[in-house]
Symmetry: none
DNA sequence: CGACTTTTGTCATGGAATTGTCATTTTTGT
DNA sequence: ACAAAAATGACAATTCCATGACAAAAGTCG
């Protein structure tokens, strides 16, 4: 299923942006709209997008720059240009900086939709990864990689992954300390709930993923019970 | 590297077919040309192609039919239409039957080449390469040759190849020590994960392919799990 | 409300487990 | 038998995480 995915739309002409957003949302995509190149670049530094839909002529930074910047870190996520610049040079430039398609204005909406669907469908096959996104962060439980709240990669240990996974797969449901201890450490006599070990792990996980550590948004404690993940 | 791949070109206009074939071959692709839809379909039943370049109007079976037929078995391999039928209906139809792109005649050769390169590049990810490139190095699993980080040929042993191949074909995914031992040595009672054998092989592989051995870029260890290849 | 209790957050630290590396021995293929 | 490949064991280097002390916060009960 390639629905429910996030599309970053960068377009400064309000009318076009609105029409595109509407139609994409009608197909169940989540659309984030930026009107300037600068905003798009900062958005991409902190958020995930499954496809980029870029106008070329934009305030601050043009579409090419956005694409080049993005491609340094991500060579696969689909990028599509939509532009009124309909000459050979522009199209070549767009493709050279790593776009998957370059569509001329005025464009046909249905054709664009089909192309977007196809691109996202193919991208789906590529990754059978188990990735969870929350806020500006993500955790990939397949590759054991994660992106923290400050935008940098996070080096988590195996146990930290296991704990995060337990909490996340039981989203919104408080898990008791006893349960967590038993799952992560087995029914050892040692790790009784008077140990601070579990709390220490929560501290680390919060350091990675919480904006305000003393006010956790995702990994919250449930007094008298244990912890829960709020998605 | 997406060169040396096979492209099926189906085109009945000799002049265009010739020009395309020539240009594709100049980029190191192997081109198989069919002049009719029927020939294309039988070709696909018996041969492999990495990309389909289809004219729409063809004798025997048109491009749509070829694509539909092909898509029943293969949803992923790129298909590109090149057609003089430049109306909305035709393009929609082309995309609906599963094409990745629909290009109008007359087309620009350079743009087409870039699109083909990009499509094949993305498709590469899924395939099991016999030759893998990373950094300045490569490993050819067919001829069992490899080029190391210092630019010279590397003499790897069979087991070293097998280990490298396992890691590389499971790119980005950490493989546990137990798994690697079982794959490479079988479920011997001897090779339990307290042995240092596996680590020794990693040392050698790193010597071959890592710039900074104490800071591996490609063959990294995942503490508590095993090793992974990062591409 | 205010003192007490219980629970949770945080830190520093040392021991334990894991991984890196080397020298050396054993095995294998030719 | 000889050279190359693979396994072993010893040891160093690194990372992890359990522990205990203490602080901070949240409940409890008068």
């Amino acid at each position: 299923m390639s629905k429910g995915k996030t599309i970053l739309l960068v377009e400064d002409e309000e009318a076009i942006a609105y029409a595109l957003k509407l139609n994409l949302e009608a197909e169940d995509y989540t659309v984030h709209l930026c009107e300037t190149g600068g905003k798009a670049i900062t958005f991409l530094q902190h958020h995930h997008a499954d496809l980029l839909l870029l106008d070329v002529m934009l305030p601050e930074a043009d579409g090419y720059q956005i694409c080049m910047h993005f491609r340094e870190k991500d060579k696969y996520t689909p990028v599509v240009f939509i532009s009124a610049k309909n000459d050979h040079q522009s199209r070549m430039h767009g493709l050279r900086v790593g776009a998957d398609d370059y569509i001329n204005k005025p464009f046909n909406l249905d054709e664009l939709m089909l192309k977007i669907n196809r691109l996202l469908f193919k991208n789906d096959l590529r990754k059978d990864h188990d990735i969870v996104y929350f806020g500006d962060c993500w955790i990939d439980f397949t590759t054991l990689e994660a992106k923290g709240v400050n935008g940098t990669k996070v080096n988590m240990s195996k146990l930290e992954f296991d704990l995060a996974k337990l909490l996340i797969t039981n989203k919104d449901k408080p898990l008791s300390r006893a349960f967590l201890y038993s799952k992560l450490w087995g029914y050892d006599k040692k790790h009784q709930p008077n140990s601070r070990t579990l709390d220490n792990f929560m501290v680390f996980i919060r350091r990675y993923f919480e904006k305000d550590i003393s006010n956790p948004e995702y990994f919250v404690s449930v007094r008298g019970v244990g912890y829960k993940f709020v998605g």
